[in-house]
Symmetry: C2
Subunit: 98 residues, 2 copies
Amino acid sequence: MSQVFKALSDPTRRRVLQLLRQGPLSAGEISDQFDVSKPTMSAHFAVLREADLVHAEKAGKSVIYHLKLSVLEEALLGFVHSFGVGGQASTSKQEVTE
Amino acid sequence: MSQVFKALSDPTRRRVLQLLRQGPLSAGEISDQFDVSKPTMSAHFAVLREADLVHAEKAGKSVIYHLKLSVLEEALLGFVHSFGVGGQASTSKQEVTE
DNA sequence: GACTCATTTCGACGATTAGCTAATCATCTC
DNA sequence: GAGATGATTAGCTAATCGTCGAAATGAGTC
């Protein structure tokens, strides 16, 4: 839970996720869209993997990143719903998932 | 946008918001629920104010904190919706709000 | 095997963060 | 005004973060 919000707290990582909406991309293809070094992007990918927001698939020399939309959706909607808004509510439950 | 996710990335701050679901509380009442010092809690409150997730109202010696549920809701649901899931979709739009 | 390309790992750096104690500010009560 | 109370600010430490260049790893190609 913390890891998801942590991952989303960086604009670069949010932009990576937005890019992946339209389909899988290789690490290099993603990095080309940003003005930071490859190692920096690789670190961002690691954070996204850690949060389970993306899946890394090796394909030859490349690594293809896939968006795990269901994880993103469940984490955020689940959190919002715990406040009793945004669709199905669960106003009573009081938990702070790590 | 970043500030909201940043604020939510800390378990203590998420728990503060969860506490405020049931109604406004003073800084002291909130702090009593945690095992960290008052100044540390005050810093957490500052982060939540910065993210506009809470409203601080002075009442005599105390400061009463209110949850700004609509801000939380719009930030998170808005983000999820930009991915085309979670209710009303907006699959085409591509933005990374700061 | 040697070479090349794609990506990650390794150190290192400056900036930020969460935490603490001690001090200060603000307000109420006597 | 002098305390007392609630909250924040100041100043510090330790840890984490985003960034980089250089080096290392992995996977194809000749």
